[in-house]
Amino acid sequence: MKIAVCVKQIPDPATPYQLDPTTHWVIRPPDQVMDDTDRYGVEVALQLKEASEGEVVLVSMGPAGNMQGIRQALAMGADKAVIIDDAELKGSGALSTAKVLAAAIKREGADLVIAGTESSDGYTGVVPQQISELLDVPALTFARKFEKTETGIRIERQTQSGYDVVECGLPALISVTAGVVEPRYPTFKGIMQAKQKPVDQLTVSDLGLDGDSVGGSGSGQDITEVSPVPSRQAGQVIEDDGEGHLRIVELLEQAKVV
């Protein structure tokens, strides 16, 4: 089974994000990390591969930079990576991202596509569904558990009131939540091997996509205004001296809750 995992390199969430003052797009530094939520998808792919042979290909769109994030995922055990890095893709929205990833996945010919439910920096949260539509395959979304069946895949899908068990045959896409597995840490051997693993770097035209349909021009939207949200007035912070709970009771009384 060939498994494609969508991963994204994002600026380190520990450092404040910068927006370009003209385009209002996030400035992407050369040092980017793998989006933490993608580690779950990579782990699911590795577990499926270990259970039934196969290949795990990472598919990523965005500035390659020094590929620190991609190497992190390769070090976990993925076999190779395809990264689409093209100046034309600047300002891409979710749909442009999905078009590029879907084209790269088609080129690889994957049986199963795995993605996180949303990225930690953009969180539009629809890229997996867009990819499934572009590939014309079923999407088992918001998986909190998964298992391989004889002919396909079965998951527990989170719903508003609990979960549904859903299954389908391959080819298919699944989107996974952070609770689905415990991602492994790369071993020293894995980190060393990751340096030798193949990384294909592609452009929009390598994928046969029309440049006007992707990137900022193809996004169909313009950011016209950016402003800070007035932050909430911070209140009083006190050290608990064994009577802290009484202050809470006081405030609850003021709020007429007790």
Partner: protein, 317 residues
């Protein structure tokens, strides 16, 4: 021209978010219609009408994940009804449908909307970077604009509208793409008041240390007549069900009082509760970001402060 609102049936009726969006839709553009996925009932349709829908496109519940079929059916409906805006909530099925529809129509999705304007080009206000920055995005693409709104961005107000015209919608066969079969459904009931509607919410975070410490959060919530919430780290660890998650990927709450116990205040969590009336936080770490939004912050051990609070409240009652 029209504005359409998508709603999936939850607990036998439309979601609160759908009623909020119908209310907002009345002020946007032309006729308001609802796209309703579920069993449906006269009562349900009346509620949709009462919030502004004059037409309901009714898609009967199926034993498959219907998003592929719904996206194809909506493409045909859109060609006939020319909506200018279609509004979706943050629900999982909402996201499945709008994602697929966006790819089919080649239209962008504008997500996390907290305001929408249609007086000029359709413009959506959203909060990014953990709710610290507000951006206005104008839609350049042709109609319909596909928008995902955040829950509680708008109040739900009845308009006294009449019962709507209900039009049943058949889903086309999508072949393999439509073959995601639901083999069983499971409800994970949580006791006490509804988290999203509760006047008081008591939430627990990783700082509690383990699932065995969570009952004290439940006890405090019960004493106050409130609902129980949790952070993503807690639901991901399986201490409590996902339905209790408050945050960007969970529920958005705006109770009168929010008590955060052992919660550091990651952006992901703050987005879901920062608009609460009074915020009380208990955490060991004086640097925890939660104290930046709290009206009262207690720097202390949640394992001593919460039990003491429970005892004090018991004595009072």
């Amino acid at each position: 021209m029209a504005t359409w609102v998508f709603s999936e049936e939850v607990d036998g009726g439309p979601t609160t978010t759908a009623l909020e969006l119908l209310t907002k839709a009345r002020s946007l553009d032309g006729e308001v219609a609802a796209i309703y996925l579920g069993e449906g009932s006269d009562e349900t349709f009346a509620a949709l009408g009462d919030h502004g829908a004059t037409t309901v496109y009714h898609i009967a519940a199926t034993d498959t994940l219907a998003a592929a079929g719904i996206a194809a059916a909506l493409e045909s409906l859109i060609a006939g009804g020319s909506p200018r805006i279609i509004l979706f909530g943050l629900g999982n099925t909402d996201r499945d449908v709008v994602g697929r529809l966006s790819a089919r129509l080649d239209r962008p999705v504008l997500a996390n909307a907290v305001d929408i304007s249609a007086s000029g080009p359709v413009a959506v206000t959203s909060e990014i970077l953990g709710g610290t920055t507000k951006v206005v995005t104008e839609v350049r693409a042709e109609a319909p604009a596909l928008v995902i709104a955040r829950p509680k961005a708008f109040p739900a107000e009845p308009s006294g509208g009449a019962a709507p015209t209900v039009i049943p919608v058949e889903l086309p066969d999508r072949g393999h793409a439509g073959e995601a079969r639901i083999t069983s459904r499971h409800a994970e009931s949580s006791e006490g008041p509804d988290l999203e509607a509760a006047a008081i919410v008591v939430s627990g975070g990783r700082g509690l240390g383990g699932a065995d410490k969570f009952p004290m959060i439940e006890e405090l919530a019960t004493l106050l007549g409130g609902a129980v919430g949790a952070t993503r780290a807690v639901v991901d660890s399986g201490w409590v069900p996902y339905s209790m998650q408050v945050g960007q990927t969970g529920k958005t709450v705006k109770p009168g009082v929010y008590i955060a116990c052992g919660i550091s205040g990651a952006m992901q969590h703050l987005v879901g509760m920062k608009d609460s009336g009074t915020i009380i936080a208990i955490n060991k770490d004086p640097e925890a970001p939660i104290f930046g939004v709290a009206d009262l912050g207690i720097v202390g051990d949640v394992h001593s402060v919460v039990p003491a609070l429970i005892e004090a409240l018991k004595t009072k009652s």
